[in-house]
Symmetry: none
């Protein structure tokens, strides 16, 4: 991972990128294979040549998004060295940046859980839980180090994750707030939520 703060072009295949846009705009059930194929510049069977089913597209999409999120946040955590407070801050910053850079990915992943087949959903949940556990561990470490006063790390981790996820549903690049603004404010919220003693 060169730089966990950077999110360049995602590595989705063209059909997946097309599907992502359509899913984001219309939802899984509101998106037709025809529309997706058109958006991808493919015929319908051409799309099926690459993906077995609509559900397989969703699965590939969600997995790619979650995997990228996990890789980046893991790098962010790693990058913090031994300081729990920095580790926590890096993770939150990374999450916030991810949800701005990958708005649609995050939105679709969190919104279409109910449209996933059981095994796809299970996989997604395990990835989401891994993410949440990373935050939780960082909070616990901070509490142990005396940096945070948080009483319910698990609950706080979920709340902070939710907060970052929700960025995806309102943030627009070029809007009134820059990405750095959003990061700064959410770092502030997150630190406050875990009762950070410094600052």
């Amino acid at each position: 991972m060169d730089n966990w703060r950077e999110f360049g072009t995602d590595e989705l295949t063209p059909p997946l990128r097309a599907a992502l846009g359509v899913f984001a705009r219309h939802g899984y059930h509101g998106a037709s294979i025809r529309t997706i194929a058109e958006a991808a510049g493919l015929s319908v069977p051409g799309l099926y040549h690459h993906y077995r089913s609509k559900q397989a597209i969703l699965a590939a999409l969600v997995d790619a998004a979650m995997a990228e999120m996990l890789t980046h946040t893991a790098a962010a955590a790693e990058d913090a060295g031994d300081s729990p407070a920095t580790r926590f801050a890096n993770i939150v910053e990374c999450l916030a940046r991810f949800h701005m850079a990958r708005r649609d990915h995050a939105f679709v992943a969190s919104t279409e859980m109910r449209s996933m087949d059981p095994d796809v959903r299970a996989h997604h949940i395990s990835q989401r839980d891994a993410q949440q556990t990373m935050i939780e561990d960082a909070i616990r470490a901070g509490v142990d180090a005396g940096d945070f006063t948080c009483r319910h790390p698990e609950d706080a981790a979920r709340a902070i994750a939710s907060l970052c996820v929700s960025i995806a549903s309102w943030y627009r690049p070029g809007g009134p707030l820059t990405a750095d603004d959003v990061v700064a404010r959410h770092l502030g919220y997150a630190r406050a939520m875990v009762g950070a003693t410094e600052a």
Copy 2:
């Protein structure tokens, strides 16, 4: 409003309640009129007798949910008298309770924005904005009164609203946390986010 902390049975008509469950489980586009009619114990034309279209059902549903939320939070605000801190706390508590008592309502309203016809969506957004403005105003009043140190009331209001909305997607009655637990913790998060100066 007798007691804004209480949310009894909602006042949805039976067909609307049935539709709510189906929308929550499958999404608007994933729900068929047939399934809704069945869940409502009506024939398909019977359902159409009550509502002009699937979209009208969604509109009625979302409006009822948002109206109830607004009525309750307004009562909660009113109930606080002159204290900005209490007003803020009451609103947050009310929001949290609403999103636990009306999980499906809140979830469908926030999740199906993209499925709403333009005018329905506009109406929904105006209700949501009214809600957010209430929080924002309370924060500003608290800042003016010296109770909060928040620098970006609008942003904080959105964050706090998002946090409360997200409760609906994980809270389950009978789960490990009681409603009072959830309220207490979220009050804590919300106060921390606006930099409440008192304990």
Copy 3:
């Protein structure tokens, strides 16, 4: 049963009768729902209003055919009184007449076994076996009575049934042979096959 020798108009519903023709001409897999609906004078969903699936159509069709065959042959057997030879002859005659009057029914039923879902197939086989057992019992009775010399009643019953079934694939009303011709000849074959001792 008024007269087991008579086969009037079958009692298939119009959609079933339409489907029968299409199945007979193109086979189950070669028949499209569209074609069936068109033949029935219905729209596609109109057809689905009456039958849940293509398979359900096949099932209803085959069951109706087999049931009619069983009812008629049972009446034919009944009609013979105590004479085993007459009972045998009546059954064979009835079978032959059925396969001329209900050519398509019989052809589809016997030809599309591989296209039937397991439970549909099981039901069909049980009906076919019941038919075969009727013949077998008649042969055994004839042997016991000294009318027949047949050594393998089960095998003979199957052969005779097959012979009657095959009539459906070549007989055409208005062709060179009358139904009575066909009956007479097949009665001859069947008697010969069981070693009938009388003339």
Copy 4:
């Protein structure tokens, strides 16, 4: 023809053999080129390299089957020398053996007539008629020689052919009856049907 009683491995090309199995199990329209290619261990265009179309596969298959049947029965007839009764018996035996040794071939050929393109069907029918004529001629010769008393040789030929064909739909090697059993019984039926005067 070394020995018309023996049917070793058929001489189908591997793709044809694969197609035969698939056609037998699912029918022509129920079989997809993809399934056939897979069963043949070929890619789809690989299969098309060998056969121009699905229909060409069916045509080649059916022709091979019918040709083998004709060659064998001709040899069986030839082998009988001057005795009409023996000639008849040899043909019947050969037909019975063919329908046991080449179950799928015979089943597909007789069952998929309706799926054949007109010229393919015409060719198949001419082969089938040639077969029937062989039997018919044998019967006539037997009648002329005073061996048989059959009154309708053409009809009897068709019935006997049908009876042999039907063996393919129930006989299983390793089942309760050996091939020799089946031959013996069907020789008995056939002789009875033509009114053979000797034992």
